[in-house]
Symmetry: C2
């Protein structure tokens, strides 16, 4: 796979910079991809994964970094989009020297890229990486980290859901609505709490028995069903996928009884055509990367010195952004995902352009 | 072509960092390759060339940056090895925005890579690039540049030739020897001057009529022959290839009457086996990248603020380095090119290791 060719012929500007980093002694093979720095330094996590090939690793980091540019733009952050992958099995090769070698390469970019946790990397790893570079978020609370980012992820999803509710039912509340939450991990649980507080009735499911036990104990009023299929086909107003990706596919969408889909899971659309299928069935889908941006908003706040209240204020704006996107989608006659992309590109172009006004 | 795979299975450490840089608006597609920074920031020129494919561009920059690491190490510089390529036809796409976009990417590496002129880029281009980055050499004299680097390239080749003469004839001089100079470009002309001053007799050739006219006028005592074949087969003690690469091939080496080959041209060996063919025929070959390092020594001096006398002192040491390499080759029973690689690797490892002694 070629780096430049990956964006040839596309309308987009393509990736600014793709950095292959190698330290043979520690076994480090990493690729840092910076899609855009139009809005500021590129922020995105480091995925540590045993890809089958270099081409597969490159493909993933190019896609993910592009996604982060759009996500960070719509999150209203002064941050561009980037992502990194470390190629290898973290259980086998993750060591202090490897993580620190990686940290030195992050530092070598002098702040054009900030890293964070992703699949295969954890808070403790960020603390190690931070011994070599200043450009790390997702650190432990003791080191100035933002802590568990599921808190504001759930808060942001709830705000997105309020905006969707207003768009469909003219009132920004879930009170009296029935919401189906698929996945009761950390984000799902926080979301259930917000929904109950708001006066919604909740039906939920999870494969994990301990998660179910937690719900039975904490929120006995929540109905539990056996699996996602049962949830999707039940009489719900809102569907909130909060587990693995691909929740919306050719099977679930035709079976779906909800008018609105707003959830925390990444990559909810199993393939590009699903977006249209949802629209054709009159289902309002708030793009996942818009409503689940509370997490990146939370860790990004570390860059300024973490302040929970400030980060929460920013995550609350996901309500406004979702509302704007849904209105733009109606106005321009496109699915919300297309409207979201347009809004992101507009912000990157219009705010990025302001640097042409010279200051220093 | 894969970046990491390019060095898999090799004993070498492989490239530290390979940076793809793109600015679609100006048309910039560049690859900066940093082979090693063990000895300091990586220095190497920027080649601007219309490669047939990204894979070809990548292959070239990986090879060239590796070569620069070895060259700079043996030149005694506190500099690692790197190189860059800009993919495209300079006559068609070279513009101020493109060069400055490239300069910003050089700057983004924050001094881990210094650029310089190479095929397709000139002093005037470096002056443009320098408007975006501090990490440029090869600028115009008016901007602190080292000026025409053929001066110390020729001086270094002459020093290498002195060391080879001492190794073969026990005296570090070309006095009384007959030297064949192929190529009377800028370096070749300076070399002829040094040889005449030293008391050598010179036979030379060039395809360019103006170059020949210059010699006839300036050094009427120089014999001129019609082409390189005539030069190689003439009765010479030393052969100095100072034109295009590949001067030593399966045709020229068997025909060669010289005992010693020392010249300024890059990549004199047409293919790897030639080295052994030279050794088998008792021809002493001083590796090209060792003896022609005066040029990089000259431009590297810009980093400290150019001082010709200091740079000349450093280029004079090519005598010592060539002597050490030839002795090591004898001692270890290997061709000089192998001895040179070992010496370079030794310096990178031994001097690079000193950073383990913490200072600040």
């Amino acid at each position: 796979m070629d780096v430049f060719a990956s964006t040839d012929g596309q309308e987009s500007d393509g990736h600014e910079q793709v950095v292959f980093c190698q330290d043979k002694q520690s076994g480090l093979k990493a690729i840092i991809a910076i899609y855009s720095t139009a809005l500021g330094p590129a922020l995105g996590g480091t995925r540590f994964y045993p890809y089958a090939s270099e081409a597969e690793a490159l493909h993933d980091v190019l896609e993910l970094s592009r996604g982060m540019a759009y996500k960070n733009a719509l999150a209203g952050l002064d941050l561009g989009g980037g992502k990194a992958v470390i190629w290898g099995d973290p259980d086998r090769i993750k060591t202090e020297p490897l993580l620190r070698a990686y940290g030195r390469f992050v530092e070598s970019l002098n702040g054009r890229y900030y890293t964070a946790c992703d699949v295969g990397t954890y808070v403790a790893d960020m603390d190690v990486i931070a011994r070599e570079t200043r450009f790390v978020t997702g650190r432990s609370v003791e080191h100035g980290g933002a802590g568990d980012s599921s808190v504001l992820t759930a808060w942001g999803v709830f705000q997105g859901m309020r905006a969707a509710a207003e768009h469909v039912w003219d009132s920004p509340t879930l009170a009296g609505r029935r919401v189906g939450v698929a996945g009761l991990g950390k984000v799902g649980r926080h979301l259930v709490a917000h929904l109950i507080d708001d006066g919604a009735s909740v039906v939920a499911t999870d494969v994990n028995e301990r998660a179910l036990a937690w719900v039975r104990q904490t929120y006995p009023q929540v109905d539990l069903v056996s699996d996602a299929t049962a949830l999707v086909t039940s009489d719900i107003d809102v569907y909130a996928p909060c587990a693995l990706g691909g929740a919306l596919d050719d099977t679930t969408v035709p079976a779906l009884r909800a008018r609105v889909v707003v959830g925390a899971a990444n990559n909810q659309l199993a393939h590009p055509g699903i977006e249209k299928l949802l629209a054709d069935r009159g289902v309002l889908y708030a793009p996942d990367y818009v409503v689940n941006a509370g997490g990146v908003i939370q860790v990004a706040d570390e860059i300024e010195g973490f302040n929970f209240d400030r980060a929460k204020l920013r995550a609350t704006k996901i309500y406004d952004t979702t509302r704007d996107i849904l209105r733009l989608a109606d106005a321009e006659g496109v699915p919300p995902a297309v409207a979201a992309d347009r809004l992101a590109e507009r912000r990157m172009a219009e705010v990025g352009r302001l640097r042409t006004i010279h200051l220093r």
